[in-house]
């Protein structure tokens, strides 16, 4: 029997009111507009870049958790793999930045495929445990392979200062320019995710989330569907990782830790799993909270953790999901 994760998404569900349909149709341009304005609305450039990168990671994660109903606790592995491979490709092989990014995304995607292949063999609650354990495997492998990854010290020495786009040199040490360069990739990924959600496959993953047994009886190969969703989600995560590497020019080992995996889960849930804007809203809320709370205490995690617990208990649809539901309720069902 498949337990439907019905406490999850509420967005994009019929009956559709006209404003909701319009919001869905314009979701990519609206997101890009918001991202364009972000550096000027937030207290710091650094915060804006982080929202961009972690927001993208959460968007990819949401494809799996929010839309396919699979609670992975190992997404740090693909994020980290993207970052490490990009850094290694630039620093140790001297690859140009774009080729390095491609390699990072491809490697992260391949890793996601392998992890997915193993973890999807298990059912239900096992899935979360196995993804967590396998991401720990990646963490300890990176720790031991220190000649490649720098081990505990992290990966350094691959700073990209200018990038050439069709003969146009952009100085990405300038934070504003860097932000907009990274944003182009994030925007492209958002457009891609939106396309996936509108595609036939987008309907299949929601069907699998709602009722595996029924989806199978309809003629869908549930395992293969999950694997494809897992891999796509890992590819987006790896892309976010390559942006992280370009941004910081170092890759700390901590990027692969359970904290990173957990953070993505928290962001997605805080914002609203299963809604398009939710993950970015969640990343923004999480990082703002971190920023503000750490002004008066270094123990911001206790506040963030408590807020998260309260959300699980009382607002499982997250900020955006709850807002949508409230607006839909006002519009009259």
């Amino acid at each position: 029997m498949t337990a439907s994760t019905s406490s999850l998404p509420a967005a994009a569900r019929a009956p559709r009111s006209p404003w909701r349909a319009r919001l869905t149709a314009w979701r990519v341009p609206l997101s890009i507009l918001a991202l364009c304005l972000l550096p000027w609305l937030l207290p710091s450039q650094a915060l804006a870049v982080n929202v961009l990168i972690y927001g993208l990671l959460a968007v990819g994660y949401n494809l799996l958790f929010g839309y396919t109903g699979l609670l992975s606790f190992g997404h740090a592995a693909f994020f980290g793999a993207g970052a490490y491979v990009t850094g290694i490709a630039i620093g140790q092989f001297g690859l140009p930045w774009f080729a390095a990014m491609l390699l990072g995304v491809a490697f992260g995607g391949a890793l996601a495929f392998l992890v997915g292949l193993l973890s999807i063999r298990t059912r239900g609650i096992y899935f979360s445990m196995v993804t967590l354990a396998l991401s720990q495997l990646v963490y300890y492998t990176a720790l031991q392979a220190s000649s490649w990854t720098g081990g505990e010290n992290g990966l350094r020495g691959f700073t990209v200062s200018t990038i050439n786009v069709f003969g146009w040199a952009i100085d990405i040490l300038d934070p504003v320019k860097k932000y907009y360069v990274l944003m182009v990739f994030a925007a492209a990924a958002l457009w891609f995710v939106s396309r996936v959600l509108n595609s036939p496959f987008g309907a299949v993953i929601e069907a699998v989330r709602e009722n595996e047994t029924r989806a199978r009886a309809c003629g869908y190969d549930v395992e293969r569907t999950k694997l494809l969703s897992f891999t796509l989600s890992g590819v987006i995560g790896a892309l976010a990782g390559t942006l992280f590497a370009l941004h910081l020019a170092i890759v700390p080992l901590d990027i692969l830790s359970i904290h990173t995996s957990g953070m993505v889960v928290m962001m997605t849930l805080l914002g609203g799993a299963g809604s398009f804007f939710g993950p970015f809203v969640g990343a923004l809320a999480f990082l703002l909270m971190e920023d503000v709370v750490s002004l008066w205490t270094s123990h911001w995690q206790i506040v963030v953790g408590t807020v998260f617990i309260l959300f699980v208990l009382f607002l499982p649809k997250g900020i955006w999901g709850t807002a949508l539901a409230a607006l839909a309720g006002r519009g009259g069902r």
Binding site: T5, I125, L132, Q136, Q301, I302
Partner: protein, 290 residues
């Protein structure tokens, strides 16, 4: 490589496995009964170690720490079940998992606030330090002690499950929760106790492990992963599976450390991957828990 070294390493593995058994058993009992995967389990292990440390330093006796900490943390577990987890029954199975993950996050930070971020060495109690000659080699007394304590706990647990009414209810309930309602058992009370028991076991593991590991707020993360590996290998909800897989993983880690130390942590994950490929339900798991 001489036989004595291998024997010693094998024994280290059993001692390590004994700790893993405590953690994985707690996890498995809670899951078997409540259907909840406790993601705060690693953090509670860490809290158990700190509680043992604190009680021992206050009373000047390791023994008080060993006795008091698991009980206190077990009671804390009961509180957690009552206040935080109970409201989530009937909702998606992912919700308790998410909540306990957040709880683990909070616990780690709370311990940082109280005890600081750095690790604290935990002295092996003098009466348990040193080595003992067992004829086939010299073994650290403390590790022998750990294996002994875990063996006693396992026997008590087994007796409790097999011979008491509470045990009967737990075993029946793990097989089929519907039966509980039919029999008119106050299921809420049983869940409360089982959650407390499971948390108490991991806290005991924490106290026992404290003199063998560096006690620090982050120590729970690896333990949680280890417990998951053991549970996946053994089969979720199977107590025998937790025991066998715990020993297997412990020995695998310490034997690998002998030949290739850098692979020691990695080998258990490889073991898990192999089991998943051959027998996704785990060595002692039932085919599907529908």
């Amino acid at each position: 490589m001489d036989a004595e070294l291998i024997a010693m390493q094998l024994f280290s593995g059993i001692a390590l496995g004994a700790i893993l058994i405590m953690v994985a058993l707690g996890l498995s009992i809670i899951f078997g009964m409540l259907g909840v995967v406790n993601f705060a389990h690693g953090a509670l292990f860490m809290v158990g170690a700190y509680a043992g440390l604190w009680v021992a330093s206050r009373t000047g006796s390791f023994w008080w720490g060993l006795l008091v900490a698991p009980i206190a943390i077990g009671l804390f577990g009961i509180l957690i079940e009552r206040v935080l987890i109970r409201p989530l029954y009937g909702r998606s199975v992912d919700d308790p998992l998410l909540l306990t993950f957040g709880l683990g996050y909070v616990l780690v930070e709370a311990v940082r606030i109280v005890f600081g971020s750095d690790g604290i060495p935990f002295q092996t109690p003098p009466e348990l330090s040193g080595v003992a000659d067992l004829g086939i080699g010299f073994f650290p007394v403390y590790r022998l002690f750990v294996v002994g304590v875990v063996a006693i706990v396992l026997v008590l647990l087994w007796l409790g499950l097999e011979k008491t009414k509470f045990g009967l209810i737990v075993r029946a309930g793990a097989k089929d929760p519907q039966i509980m309602r039919v029999l008119g058992v106050d299921i809420a009370k049983v869940w409360l106790l089982v959650f407390g028991l499971g948390v108490g076991l991991t806290a005991l593991g924490g106290v026992l492990a404290a003199p063998m590991r560096n006690v620090n707020p982050e120590m729970g993360a690896l333990v949680l992963a280890e417990a998951f590996v053991v549970t996946v290998i053994g089969g979720m909800g199977s107590l025998l599976g937790a025991v066998v897989a715990g020993l297997l993983v412990g020995v695998a880690i310490s034997m690998t450390a002998l030949v290739a130390p850098e692979m020691a942590t990695i080998v258990m994950f490889a073991l898990m991957a192999a089991v998943l490929l051959v027998r996704p339900q785990g060595l002692f798991g039932k085919k599907s828990r529908a």
